[in-house]
C-alpha cells in the first residue's frame, strides 16, 4: 500500500508544481504584454504630439480669443512637461478615456463601442469560413502531396496572398451583386430595412445578425445575411490562404512520424489516422495560426469595410483620417492594437494549455 501512496503523492506534487509553473509563465506573459501595451501607448502619444494639427485650434476654431486659448491649453495640460503629459495620457487610457472626437464631440470610446461589434461580427464570420474551408483544404493537400488537388489548393492559396483585398471586394460586388444579384450590396441592410431597424430591433449587441435574430425579425435577418456573406467570404478567403498553407505543412510533418506508420501498420483506416491521430497534434500549432489570422482579419477589415460601406472600426478610422479627427484615429489604433495584443496573449495561453511540452 505504502509505495502506491507515495507514488500518488509525488504525482500530486508534480502536478501542483506544473500548475505553478503554468501560473508563473502566464504571469510573465501578462507582464510582458502590459509593457508592450505601454509601448503602444507611447507610440500613439508621440504621434499625437508631433502632429501638425494644433488641438486647441481644432476644438475652439479659428476665431478664439487669446484668453480662451490660454485657458484651454492649461486645461488640456499642454503646458506640463512631456513625461507628465504621458503619465496623464496613460492614466486616462486605463480609465477608458480615449479623448473626444473632434467631429462629433462624443467620447471616442463610446463611438468605438458602437462601431467595433460590426467589425467583430464580420471578422468572426470570416475566420469561421477560413477555418472550415482552410483546414480540410490543407489536409487534402498534405495527404497527397504533388497531386493535382494539392497543386490546386496551393495555387488558390497563393492567389489569396497576392490579391489586393479592396480590388477583390470590388470584383465580388461587380459579379455577385451587379451581374448575378445573388447577394446584397454595400451596407448592412437594404435601405428599406435600414429605416425600420431603429424602430423594430433593439441594439443589444450591435451585431446585426444576433440583434435581428433576438428580435425575431427573420426577414431582416436573412437580408442582413445576404449583405454580410460577401465581405465575410472575402475575409474568409484571405485567412483560408494562410490557414491551408500552414495546415498542409504541419500535417505533412506529422504524417512522416513513426506513430503514424505504427497506426497504419496496425490496419487503422486512413481516415482515422489522418483526422484523429495526426489532427490532434496538428491542432496545437494551428491554434496560433488561427489566432494570428483572426488578428490579421481585423486589419484586413479596414479596406474591406471601406468597400462594403460596413459601419465597423476600420471604416471609423479611415473616415476620421479624411477629416483629420486625430483623437478618433489614435483611439481606434489603440483599440485595434489592444485587441491584437489580447488575441496574441490568448493564443499563447491556449497553446500552453493544449501542449504539455510547452509548459
Amino acid at each position: 500500500m505504502a509505495p502506491v501512496n507515495s507514488a500518488q503523492s509525488s504525482d500530486a506534487a508534480a502536478q501542483s508544481s506544473a500548475a505553478l509553473r503554468f501560473a508563473s509563465q502566464s504571469a510573465n506573459t501578462l507582464f510582458s504584454l502590459f509593457i508592450t501595451f505601454i509601448g503602444l501607448l507611447a507610440v500613439t502619444f508621440l504621434i499625437s504630439r508631433v502632429i501638425p494639427i494644433d488641438p486647441v485650434t481644432a476644438i475652439l476654431g479659428e476665431r478664439a480669443t487669446g484668453e480662451q486659448i490660454a485657458a484651454l491649453t492649461q486645461k488640456l495640460g499642454l503646458n506640463d512637461p512631456l513625461w507628465k503629459q504621458f503619465g496623464i495620457y496613460v492614466w486616462d487610457v486605463f480609465h477608458g478615456d480615449l479623448g473626444q472626437s473632434v467631429r462629433t464631440r462624443d467620447p471616442v470610446l463610446t463611438e468605438i463601442g458602437r462601431y467595433f461589434p460590426a467589425t467583430l461580427e464580420l471578422s468572426t464570420l470570416g475566420i469561421l469560413i477560413g477555418v472550415i474551408v482552410g483546414i480540410p483544404a490543407g489536409v487534402l493537400g498534405a495527404t497527397k502531396p504533388g497531386s493535382w488537388r494539392d497543386l490546386f489548393v496551393r495555387l488558390v492559396g497563393l492567389m489569396g496572398y497576392s490579391m489586393p483585398v479592396f480590388w477583390l471586394g470590388l470584383m465580388g460586388l461587380l459579379l455577385f451583386y451587379g451581374e448575378l444579384g445573388w447577394v446584397g450590396g454595400p451596407g448592412r441592410l437594404d435601405s428599406m430595412y435600414e429605416m425600420m431597424i431603429d424602430v423594430t430591433v433593439p441594439p443589444v449587441t450591435h451585431m446585426i445578425l444576433i440583434d435581428t435574430a433576438l428580435a425575431g425579425e427573420w426577414d431582416m435577418f436573412w437580408n442582413a445575411l445576404s449583405h454580410i456573406i460577401l465581405p465575410a467570404s472575402l475575409l474568409g478567403y484571405l485567412s483560408m490562404a494562410y490557414i491551408s498553407r500552414m495546415t498542409r505543412s504541419f500535417m505533412m510533418n506529422e504524417l512522416g512520424q513513426e506513430y503514424i506508420t505504427t497506426a497504419r501498420v496496425k490496419g487503422m483506416p486512413e481516415r482515422r489516422v489522418v483526422w484523429v491521430h495526426a489532427m490532434r497534434n496538428v491542432a496545437v500549432p494551428l491554434i496560433t495560426v488561427v489566432a494570428l489570422s483572426y488578428a490579421y482579419l481585423l486589419e484586413g477589415a479596414v479596406l474591406t469595410e471601406t468597400i462594403f460601406a460596413w459601419p465597423g472600426l476600420g471604416r471609423y478610422i479611415t473616415d476620421a483620417l479624411l477629416v483629420a479627427d486625430m483623437p478618433a484615429v489614435l483611439g481606434g489604433t489603440i483599440v485595434v492594437g489592444a485587441v491584437y495584443i489580447g488575441i496574441n496573449m490568448l493564443s499563447d495561453f491556449l497553446y500552453r494549455l493544449a501542449d504539455p511540452r510547452a509548459r
Binding site: G39, I51, Y161, S162, P164, W167, L168
Partner: protein, 301 residues
Amino acid sequence: MTTLNAWLLDPNPKSRLQSRVGQTWLSWLRFRRNPLAMIGLGISVALIFMSIFAPLLAPYDPIVQSLPDRLLPPLTPGHWMGTDDFGRDIYSRLLYGSRITLYIVMLVILTAPVVGLIIGTVAGYFGGWVDAVLMRITDVFLAFPKLILALALVAVLGPGMVNAVLAIAITSWPPYARVARAETLTVRNSDYIAATRLQGASALRLIWGHVMPMCLPSVIIRVTLDMAGVILTAAGLGFLGLGVQPPLPEWGLMISAGRKFLFEQWWVATMPGLAIFIVSLGFNLLGDGLRDVLDPRSAGK
C-alpha cells in the same frame, strides 16, 4: 560552352571566385527546374523592363486628358484596355504606374531590412539589457497591425508617395530584426567569432564584417517574400487616398478612381487590379522559389 560548364561545376575549385560562381550556378540550376519560380522571375523581369521602357511602349501620355475619348471600353482600336473617366489610355497609365510601384518597393526594401538588420544584429550580439530594450521596442511595433499603424503615420506625416514609403518602412522593419537576431544568436558563440575577437577586432567590425554576412541569406529570402506585401500595402494606401496623389498613375489610386462607375464601366477598376495581382503573384512565386534554393532547411518541404 562545355569548358565553361566544366569550370563552373568543378568539384575542386581552384580559387575562391570559382567556388562562389560555381555555387551560384548550381543554385540557378536548381531554381530553373521549378516552373512556378521561373514564372515569378519572368513576371519580375517584365515589370522592370516595362518600367524602364515605359515611354517607348506607351502609346499615349499617362497624364494628359482627352475628354472626347472618355470611358471607351476595352478592345477599342488604339485603346486595347480602354480609357478612364478623363479619356486617358489605361494601358499607358499602367505602364507608367509600374515605375511608381517599382520605386516604392525599391525604397522600402532598401530601408526597412537595413534598419532591421542593424537592430537585430546589435541586439543579438550584445545581449543583456541592450537585447531586452531593443527587442521590447520591436515587439511594440509588431503589436500594431501594419496597415493601421501606417494609416496613423500617414495621418501625421500627410499623404504623399514619400510619406507612404516612410510609413510602410517604419511598419515593416520588426520582422527583419527578429530574423537577424535569431541568426546572430546562432553564430555569436562560434569559434571563428571568438578567434576574430582575440585578434582584437572591435564590436563594430565583428558585427559588420562577420555577423551581418551570416544573416544576409535569411533576410534576403524574407525581403523577396515581403515585396508582394509592400505592393499591396502601398496600393491600399493609394486606394484610400493617403498614398500617391492624383494625377500620378498609381495602381491603387486608379482602382479607387474606377470605383465610382464600377457597375457601368467595369474595366477602369479591373485593369489596375489585375496588374497589382500579377505583379505580387510574381514576387510571391519568386520568393518561394528563392527560399527553396537558398534555404536548405526548408528545401525538403
